[in-house]
Symmetry: C2
DNA sequence: CTCCGGGATGTTATATTGTTGCGCCAAGGG
DNA sequence: CCCTTGGCGCAACAATATAACATCCCGGAG
């Protein structure tokens, strides 16, 4: 396990403990798999990675993802049906994601939007913001090609 | 058919003709169903509405939706797996959607984001922006309840 | 006119993604 | 001890989406 992964895992454990949430082995393992991946991971790929023998069933991974998402440790990427670990473990509300279509890397920026007002008095409770394109590395690689 | 629906349909026909696109009967019917709905519609609901006898198959509606989306006449709502007619038929790039979780109505604002730069030189080609919450009507109804 | 080619649609089957429902078990409070 | 509660295993299924191939129709080339 690389260092940043174990660091993030212990941070997650502390965060959960402080909120009275149980970071059980299954949940921790799912989070670890997401942290180790450079790119977003699909639920069924996590499932396959969880139990190579094929023993794990869908609800296992979906329940873990649901927990991790609600705990603010993981983001679901709506347009890809995929998941990525949240690197800013403070978990305050909505994130804005920049997803490179070349290398799959996800950059994350936080905006506090919840509670803000949209047009005509619309009251926002949750936002999905996903930008697709090329990260600077891939953009320059492409330009030079 | 209410007036705004027929107006939108003729606008769509003109728009397609000017671009050399074929707004065939199936495509037009799907667009009409979306225009008539107050809320986003799922692909399989469209399918059921298309041919009450159950004769239509999934590819029919998915192909129509693909065409309409690429023509800028329809938006896909990623977090709902649903579709809604685009009311600003000019179809310039990304839309920002405000989706009321009470009544289902979708408000639409346009931002031209494509080509803009994100953090660290990220080059955006397409954005998904969906805000969930309550429209002003539903927010005030709730407040008074 | 005939033939050909491309786009649109029909048809069948399958892949992918996500959920429901039930039961077991272990931890903790009375 | 008993009972509740939350987490997990398990089986089945529901919902969403695509692949692959056949057919039809129309418009242009010969």
């Amino acid at each position: 396990m690389t260092e940043h992964v174990s660091l993030a895992l212990s941070a997650a454990e502390r965060s959960c403990r402080s909120k009275g949430l149980a970071l059980t082995p299954v949940r921790k393992r799912v989070l670890q798999l997401l942290l180790e991946s450079q790119a977003p991971v699909k639920a069924y790929d996590l499932l396959a990675a969880l139990k190579p023998g094929g023993g794990a069933q869908p609800p296992t991974v979906y329940r873990a993802l649901d927990f991790l998402t609600r705990a603010g440790l993981v983001h679901r990427i709506e347009a890809l049906n995929a998941y990525t670990a949240c690197l800013h473990a403070d978990g305050h509300g909505s994130a804005e994601l920049y997803i490179c279509e070349d290398c799959g890397q996800v950059e994350e920026r936080h905006r506090k939007i919840s509670g803000e007002a949209g047009p005509g008095g619309f009251l926002i409770s949750r936002s999905v913001i996903e930008h697709y394109g090329r990260c600077s590395d891939c953009a320059s690689a492409q330009a030079s090609a």
